[in-house]
């Protein structure tokens, strides 16, 4: 038989294969498909970090396992922290309820039925003080999954530390604080797009100057992909978003090396295994080049694409849910082969129910089996040098760059989000994907192929705890009655004054939360100055 070298699918009489990102995969890859320069020169821990950001990666220390958890009240969260510390854990992702995320107090009529439902409810600094009571802030790193009201919650975390006499220059922690992706997916925006970006930039500037160990932003390609973007767009839009924050921060007179190493990313994994790996390797190289070549960063750590990459909920199915255990194991493998810093997996049953302790344990064990039995930590970037993976890595770097140019043609990410351009394009893709699944063009095991008759699985929610919600409202009432009202009013006026003067709002918000101004009051004050986002209606 003749050689398959350089032959196309048609020439070899096999069916053409296209990745979700839209480009074709060759049936065979050879050394001729490689950029020999990249291959010979790239080393893990060296710029442009295609092969990983550290020289020895997991041989030195495996990726961090960080499972997501939400607790209803500050009191429960505090109990959970004590439990975790006792068991040797050091980090926790904190989820917040929707009123907190949307800037409403627990006693707001619009919050009815939502208080404490999907996470912890925060009205005032008092709630933070309860949640972190007797917790040594040195011993844990707290990740705040908050966006629209992130500037207020970060201020509360800092204010709590300061009130305790903690030196904030050593305070660690992270916040999601990626508002631009909220306009594309997830939807907890409050203010107009440009104002929203300004608030993120305020936190970056403030942290760079006063809380340098704190990671104020985690840019989320994850939710963009879950909203319908393909892998190339996921990376491209995330990079455009990160650049928008970066550009804003640089205008404040701080340098790229003052904050770039504190920016991190949150990405999605589902679908084609090699496509995801190439996406991360190519993306890591491109991000390093952007930070060094475009922004002139001197420090290597500024150029690192630090990421949490875990199993995407979008890949999991309600049908034959045990299959999700297998899918998640592959997602974990992809994440590790891509050189992630932190990993989190969805529970196999969370598409339809509250994950049980058992299913949460399976997720944890999936990652532990990989670390301890599969030799995944033995050598850095084990796929480096693979003809296919290297060729695809180059292709992804190029394609992500191209997609970023498309966003530039749309007048940049801020405008593309404000006028709904991005939302329109991802919603259309989500529809096409769903139709592809429903028509069986996109194969999904247990859904449109290899199906079997199954019992209907009951969807379950945590029962809503009205009593806890009432207690939260009661607590808020007490705080409101006990604070110095004239000081509260003054603080809120100062926030409005600073907003009008386009000053960094972190300073006045830190002062305001110390006087127990509520999340809702601060948001209301800001709305008076900035107005609210008007959602462009696209589908």
């Amino acid at each position: 038989m003749a050689s398959t070298k350089g032959k196309t699918a048609i020439e070899l009489n096999v069916k053409p294969v296209y990745l979700e990102s839209g480009f074709e995969v060759n049936p065979v890859y050879t050394s001729e498909d490689l950029n020999i320069g990249n291959l010979q020169n790239e080393m893990p821990g060296e710029y442009p970090f295609t092969r990983g950001i550290h020289p020895t990666m997991y041989r030195n220390k495996p990726f961090t396992i960080r499972q997501y958890a939400g607790f209803a009240s500050p009191e429960e969260t505090n109990e959970r922290f004590h439990f975790l510390i006792k068991n040797g854990q050091t980090g926790l992702n904190v989820a917040f309820d929707l009123p907190t995320q949307c800037g409403l107090d627990s006693d707001d009529p619009k919050a009815f039925g939502e208080v404490g439902r999907v996470g912890m409810s925060i009205d005032t600094l008092d709630d933070f003080e309860i949640a972190f009571k007797n917790i040594d802030l040195d011993k844990i790193t707290v990740s705040l999954t908050i966006n629209g009201t992130a500037i207020i919650l970060i201020a509360m975390y800092i204010a709590m530390a300061e009130k305790r006499g903690f030196d904030i220059s050593t305070l660690r922690g992270t916040a999601q604080n990626d508002i631009l992706k909220e306009f594309i997916g997830r939807g907890t925006w409050i203010f107009p797009v440009d104002t929203s970006v300004k608030l993120v930039v305020d936190t970056i500037e403030y942290c760079a100057k006063h809380v340098p160990k704190y990671s104020p932003v985690s840019v989320c390609g994850y939710h963009i992909r879950e909203s319908g973007a393909n892998p190339v767009q996921e990376m491209a839009y995330a990079f455009c978003i990160a650049k928008a924050y970066t550009d804003g921060a640089l205008k404040r007179g701080i340098t790229i090396d003052d904050f770039a190493s504190r920016l991190s990313f949150n990405f999605d994994i589902y679908g084609n295994l090699f496509e995801q790996i190439a996406k991360f390797r190519g993306g890591r190289r491109l991000w390093a080049k952007i930070i060094r070549e475009e922004y002139g960063a001197k420090k290597d750590s500024s150029c690192w694409l630090r990421m949490i990459a875990g199993g995407g909920g979008g890949g999991l199915t309600k049908e034959q849910p045990e299959n999700n255990i297998i899918r998640s194991a592959y997602y974990a493998l992809i994440s590790a082969l891509s050189g992630t810093q932190t990993m989190a997996l969805c529970s196999y049953d969370e598409a339809y129910t509250i994950p049980t302790e058992h299913s949460a344990e399976i997720s944890l064990r999936t990652m532990q089996i990989m670390i301890h039995e599969m030799g995944i930590c033995d050598t850095v970037d084990p796929l480096g040098g693979s003809y296919y993976v290297e060729a695809m890595t180059d292709r992804f770097e190029k394609e992500i760059k191209e997609e970023m140019k498309t966003v530039e043609k749309w007048d940049g990410i801020v405008n593309a989000v404000a006028n709904g351009k991005i939302q329109e394009s991802v919603a259309k893709q989500a529809y096409e994907r769903e139709m592809g699944m429903q028509k069986g063009v996109i194969p999904k095991v247990g859904v449109n192929i290899f199906t079997r008759k199954e019992d209907v699985r009951e969807v379950e929610f945590h029962p809503y705890n009205q009593k806890a919600a009432d207690e939260q409202i009661e607590k808020l009432k007490k705080i409101k009655n006990s604070r110095n009202q004239s000081k509260v009013d003054e603080c809120l006026e100062n926030i409005k004054r600073d907003a009008k003067a386009d000053k960094n709002l972190m300073y006045s918000i830190v002062v305001a939360v110390k006087e127990y101004c509520t999340v809702g009051e601060i948001v209301k004050a800001l709305k008076e100055v900035y107005g609210e986002f008007k959602e462009p209606i696209f589908f």
């Binding site: 939502e114 997830r186 809503y464």
Partner: protein
């Protein structure tokens, strides 16, 4: 036939509702969408304004029973004769309660777009 799709409450998950909007549009419906975080008052008002034949409420945060009750009150208060359905993360055991609260039907996640289209066609 005019359909108003809506997102009541604070839940921001809108992938599903937009997929349905696309599907309905392709099937020949005239589709309107409220956008996120609307009150039942705002939804009812828009339904009247666009002269909707049917209203769809997309809810994934678990607040469907609370919102259905409010929706029912609002429809009655305005003496509207517009059927409304609920879609999203709905436990099967809640479908009967939703219907009792005035919904014409409820569609759980995973429902095929065509199934909803067929149901809407029959309503007319």
């Amino acid at each position: 036939m005019k359909v108003l799709l809506s997102k009541p409450g604070l839940d921001g998950h809108d992938v599903g509702v937009k997929v349905l909007a696309h599907g309905l549009k392709e099937a020949g419906f005239e589709v309107f969408y409220t956008g996120l975080r609307k009150s039942v008052e705002e939804i009812a008002e828009m339904a009247v304004k666009v002269n909707a034949d049917i209203i769809g409420l997309s809810i994934l945060s678990g607040t469907h029973l609370i919102i259905a009750e409010k929706m029912n009150d609002e429809i009655k208060k305005r003496k509207l004769n517009i059927p409304w359905v609920v879609g999203g993360n709905i436990p099967a055991k809640d479908i009967a309660s939703l219907i009792k609260k005035g919904a014409s039907n409820a569609f759980v996640t995973g429902t095929k777009v065509n199934e909803v289209i067929e149901y809407f066609k029959k309503l007319k």
